[in-house]
Amino acid sequence: MSKKQPQDSNQTNLDDEKTFEVLTFKQEAASFLNGVRQGRMGSFPALIGFLVLVVLFSFLSPVFFTQLNFANLLQQSAPLIILAMGLVFILLIAEIDLSAGVTSGLASAIFVVVLKNLGIPWWLAIILSLLIGVAIGLAIGIMVAKVGIPSFVVTLAAFLAFQGLQLMVIGQGGLYRVETPAILALENDNLSVGLGWALAVILVGFVLINGLASRRRRTKNGHANRAISILYFRVATSALVVFTSVYFLNLPRGSNPEFQLQGVPVAVLVVLVVLIPCTYLLNRTPFGIHVYAVGGNPEAARRAGINVSSLRIIIFMIGSGLASISGLMAASRVGTVDAAAGRTIVLSGVAAAVVGGVSLFGGRGKLTDAVVGGLVIAVIDNGLGLLSLPAGLNLAVTGGVLLMAATADALSRKHGTLTGR
């Protein structure tokens, strides 16, 4: 939201009842573009970047724009997106977790080793590995919030130490196969065609019903609403994206006619199952507002009576918990866990969040930014891989994209300080 405010306070022609300037669709669009120009752009540039990359790779590679690769891309990005969502929480309070990747690897290592050696049911092993992930977050959070060590140092230490721990858990040169069907299903199975359509209807219906309900509530309380065309635009766009994607994914994509491969990947469902409640937590609960407050001005948050240090600890627990889920997803995708699992993913995770539009300076960003950013990083990886260009180029391009996003973030912050916006 970015409405021009008069710098002077001589404005007296406002009704007391009027709380909202109702803008037409055109004005809203103009104010949005104005915001983009001034650097308050969220995931918009990343979304454009994603589309550009998709078009580019579609021309360059005949394999890129196929049902098979589309499903593959979504599965490929899922562990990254979930890790990045955990990092969004941490970046929102202006901290960093360099150990998120290693935590994800350690969680998957603990899962396979415990399952193999203790003979406990698979679901108990999952719970155990998630609990260990959350416990890691608790330990990091206490170090940062109570002891007062910068999170960069604490998590760097954890990054090193947990690699060692993972090596000890797995054993030198060890390699464990993932054999649990439930875990393998996460990254390898698909929803049935019918379920895919049902999911699409639920998603679009949710956007529509939620928008209408919010309008009704506001009208009942005497508040003005934003132009209804904005809601229609939002519903139409999400319907277009969701239904097209589901249609495309529901087409048969297997090369073996004996074995039908079609449907929305389960990985998409897993991402949604993490995304929706966490977005609710951030947007609609006091805790969520406090997270943004601590990221924006910790001193103001403290004076407002928010327990800043326990909030920090909880955030690190959420981050590490999501990292553990990401680790199980990665294990499902690769099919094996070794001592190096998760070692390199953390930087891609930070890149995904920042490319998606999450600020490194705290207080600005959404979980959906991690989804868009994760897709951008995954599409670079996927597309350049298909072109069989050298792997070095892939890393260099990803690094360049990250630097661009971080530059945009820093410039928008600088602009904000200069103009007081």
Partner: protein, 256 residues
């Protein structure tokens, strides 16, 4: 509101020293409900130390604090806010990345089942601003980062009204503002007192103190040298109290 003629807060011969430096000695101070009580004095006169004692940031060494006639101890900011004392500091402590409503309700969000009750908060915020005749904020849903200095001050002051406080302490609310914004904020300060709160206003600008305050307390070198009605004083007399040209010690009660 409280019984008339019982001060919301009354300090009796409070003292504070830092090592050998006596910052406050035998200071009496009174703030009544429905009045703006100005606290003026030169730099180093002890204004901040006096305020910090009431805010619970830094306790006095000796002396008595009466809150609505009862003796109280204010040892921490929590004690102060439990009594209904709210301090609006110069640095305002607003979150730039949150909107006006979110800032006003920060830490005390209204909740319906488990989600925040945005509509009610928006309504209450709008009502509070309207109650203070605030007209310089057109949308309570805009981010604080897009507000001017005067608008931010407005938000910070309005926040203190929302929570049934009895005493609001404003630390130089107009120090960084331009002319028209200062006018707006001062009008709001007046409205704040007219709603029945006791308002303590710290300021360096004598013109605005004379314009908006009911009573003026003058601190000089840690002593209360004047407690006068604003309507019965003028710029010259206040300045001479501040500088010490006219060093009369007036007891708080006698002048009421």
């Amino acid at each position: 509101m409280s019984t008339p003629n019982v001060p919301v807060i009354e300090l009796k011969s409070v003292a504070k020293s830092f090592g050998a430096v006596q910052v406050l000695s035998g200071v009496n101070f009174v703030a009544m409900a429905g009045q703006v009580t100005a606290l003026v004095g030169d730099n180093g006169a002890g204004k901040s130390t006096l305020i910090k004692g009431m805010a619970g940031v830094q306790a006095y060494d000796s002396g008595t604090i009466l809150f609505e006639g009862n003796e109280v101890q204010i040892k921490s900011p929590v004690d102060a806010s439990n009594l209904g004392i709210e301090v609006v500091y110069q640095d305002l402590a607003l979150c730039d990345n949150l909107d006006v409503v979110q800032n006003m309700f920060l830490g005390r969000e209204l909740v319906r089942s488990i989600s925040i009750d945005d509509e009610t908060m928006e309504q209450k915020a709008t009502k509070t601003l309207a109650g203070l005749s605030v007209r310089n904020i057109s949308s309570v849903r805009q981010k604080v980062s897009s507000l001017s200095g005067g608008q931010r001050q407005t938000v910070a002051i309005a926040r203190s009204v929302l929570w049934e406080n009895k005493l609001v302490i404003l630390d130089e609310p107009t120090a960084a503002l331009g002319v028209s914004q200062t006018k707006q904020v001062l009008k709001m300060v007046r409205n704040l007192a007219d709603t029945g709160l006791a308002v303590i206003l710290i300021s360096h600008n004598m013109q605005e103190v004379l314009a908006v305050a009911d009573r003026i307390h003058v601190l000089r070198l840690g002593q209360m040298v004047a407690n006068v009605k604003a309507s019965e004083s003028n710029l010259n007399s206040i300045v001479s109290y501040i500088t010490g040209a006219e060093n009369l010690s007036i007891s708080g009660e006698a002048a009421l």
